[in-house]
């Protein structure tokens, strides 16, 4: 009887352990910003016969890259729960929230690049410049296998890939010249630092375009490249500032010259108007008098001479000295 009780106790103890170990400890949840992948005996829960090559994210890969970056598609556990797992199953959770990282961050040595703040690059005119900015990324829900199981250090890969493309772009960057664009001396000078600063948006867009395959390669989506500053060495910066000052000064002088020229042209046009009006003012009394005399002439042949004699009378009134010829 006692042996039976002990055996029953053992059974009960084992059952209790089983319920706790295999039951209660098997529940888990997935947060809103998380996605999870389950492995069964170490093997990820795959979708049979489907790889990343079947997904549109692989479209940007070259044929040769498609061979190398082929990862199985896995079943992604969406946020929610509680879910249940057996002890031989393991849950890998990753946050898919967007993260930001400095473009100068070196995952292998954080003290490099001035403590991960400035990334050096060489421009087309062989000038050393410093870039700073951020890289926004998130883990791709469509290629979780690559991020969790396929790549040893995905961030190191993404940074290596990104920095290579960025430096290559900067080394060959030349501003696009529009046909109708006016000739700009600073562009003719081949100073690519100015081109880079003026076309920062192009640079960012190029990076977004070129790095689009990072999702298929490493399971990380590059959301945006935000280059915030491009700094040349101090002496070059000062020379660039002198260019900008000269440009500002020139444009100010040109504005002044335009203003002066406009004023002079307007003044000259006004002068024409003034002279015209003056001459018209001079002519109007003559026209009026002539018209009146013409009218007077029409009234009779002697009208003009009579009127003239009448006018003379006024002058006679002012006469001080007259010598009159008298008939004998």
């Amino acid at each position: 009887m006692e042996f039976g009780g002990t055996l029953f106790g053992c059974l009960l103890g084992f059952l209790g352990w089983f319920v706790i170990r295999y039951g209660l400890m098997g529940f888990y949840t997935v947060n809103q910003n998380e996605r999870a992948v389950k492995t069964v005996f170490g093997r990820a829960d795959r979708i049979p016969g489907v790889t990343t090559l079947n997904d549109p994210i692989a479209e940007s890969l070259t044929p040769e890259e498609r061979e190398r970056y082929t990862y199985p598609q896995v079943r992604v556990i969406q946020p929610g729960g509680p879910y249940f797992k057996w002890p031989w199953e393991r849950i890998y959770k990753v946050s898919i929230a967007t993260e930001t990282i400095s473009i100068a961050f070196d995952p292998e040595n954080r003290s490099l690049n001035q403590g991960g703040t400035v990334l050096e690059a060489v421009t087309k005119d062989q000038l050393n410049i410093g870039l700073s900015g951020q890289l926004r990324y998130r883990i791709s829900e469509r290629n979780l296998y690559a991020y969790i199981f396929g790549v040893k250090n995905p961030i190191a890969h993404v940074m290596g890939y990104f920095v290579s493309i960025l430096r290559e772009r900067i080394a060959g960057f030349e501003a696009p010249h529009a046909a109708e664009e006016a000739v700009d001396i600073s562009k003719m000078a081949g100073v690519s630092i100015n081109d880079l600063r003026k076309n920062l948006r192009d640079l960012n867009e190029h990076m977004d375009r070129e790095c689009v395959s990072s999702s298929a390669r490493y399971g990380i989506v590059l959301d945006a490249t935000l280059i915030t500053s491009i700094d040349p060495p101090p002496e070059v910066e000062s020379a660039l500032a002198a260019i900008n000052t000269a440009q500002n000064q020139v444009s100010s002088e040109i504005s002044l010259a335009h203003a002066g020229a406009d004023q002079k042209i307007v003044q000259s046009r006004r002068a024409v108007e003034i002279e015209t009006l003056k001459a018209q003012a001079e002519v109007e009394p003559l026209n009026a008098l002539a018209a009146q005399l013409t009218e007077l002439k029409r009234s009779g042949p002697a009208a003009l001479s009579t009127y003239l004699r009448n006018v003379r009378l006024k002058v006679f009134g002012q006469t001080e000295h007259a010598i009159l010829e008298v008939k004998p």
Partner: protein, 302 residues
């Protein structure tokens, strides 16, 4: 009562023991090669008495006895089980020294990806495949990229990457270690003096541009001013010509009738004489010319 105590005691002891006994039992089963679990991204290579007994590449649960035979029971005791990381790895070789065609001392940073393609070759063909691959990539970089023109060294990086990759890949395959993507991550000048010289060159160029901009501005201002001067002169000329034009036209019109014109000018002359308040001396029309001259020569006060 005793029965209840022994039941509870047995239950508690069993409950506590199960936490240790079950894992130890499973470990024992694994040690005797009953089963093995291959995690994702890993590979297991079993070696017994100097021979490769088997390679487990597929992740999941594997029963070793049917796969490896009875030797599976010994392999964990007398042999080895190497777990290899099959994930994609990367390495960055910083500042590999090369010279450009022009002789400029340059540094090339080359970044490459690699992964194990054949676990057995990886383990036994080369004692340090990773180090050898790194040395090969470094060597290929120096060999392939030395004496390239500076311009292409800075700009044509894709071609350079392809060249290094093509050079290194065949050898690395022999060691069971494949090269993935290769990127020229950095091309930089090693000589500080050269960097300074380039800076000076750029600064001089910028100064040249500055004076060109200033000169261009002066020229533009001159063009604007002289264009305006020309246009203004034309307009001022027009202004000066307005009076003769308008007055002349009016007089020409009036002169079409000589009587009217003569009368009008007579009236105007008389009017001006009257307005001037001058002293008027009348002389006879047929009088002596001398008289008129004498009168004109007479002083005003007289």
């Amino acid at each position: 009562m005793n029965a209840l105590i022994s039941l509870l005691g047995a239950a508690i002891v069993t409950f506590c023991a199960a936490w240790f006994v079950v894992p130890v039992a499973l470990w024992g089963l694994r040690m005797f090669g009953t089963y093995a679990i291959v995690q994702e991204g890993t590979c297991r290579v079993y070696v017994l008495f100097g021979k490769v007994l088997g390679v487990l590449r597929e992740p999941g649960l594997h029963l070793l006895w049917p796969r490896l035979g009875p030797q599976a029971a010994l392999v964990n005791w007398l042999g080895t089980c190497q777990v290899l990381d099959m994930r994609l790895d990367q390495q960055y070789l910083r500042s590999q020294p090369v010279n450009s065609e022009e002789g400029a001392p340059m540094g090339i940073g080359i970044w490459y990806e690699m992964y194990i393609s054949d676990p057995v070759f990886y383990m036994f063909k080369n004692a340090d495949p990773q180090g050898s691959l790194s040395a090969n990539v470094g060597n290929a970089t120096v060999r392939t990229l030395s004496n390239l023109p500076l311009g292409s060294m800075l700009e044509d990086r894709h071609a350079m990457s392809q060249a290094v990759r093509g050079d290194v890949s065949p050898k690395s395959v022999e060691w069971g270690y494949k090269l993935g993507s290769v990127y020229i991550r950095k091309v930089h000048f090693r000589d500080v003096g050269m960097i300074k010289q380039i800076e000076e060159k750029v600064v001089n160029r910028l100064r040249q541009v500055t004076s060109a901009i200033t000169q261009d501005g002066v020229n533009q201002v001159s063009i604007i001013s002289s264009t305006a001067e020309r246009q203004a002169s034309i307009e001022f000329g027009k202004a000066n010509a307005m009076r003769p034009k308008i007055v002349g036209e009016a007089l020409q019109k009036i002169s079409s009738d000589p009587d009217v014109a003569n009368t009008m000018f007579e009236i105007l002359e008389l009017g001006k004489i009257a307005e001037s308040k001058a002293r008027v001396t009348l002389v006879p029309a047929q009088g002596s010319e001398l008289l008129a001259q004498l009168l004109a020569a007479q002083p005003k006060s007289a």
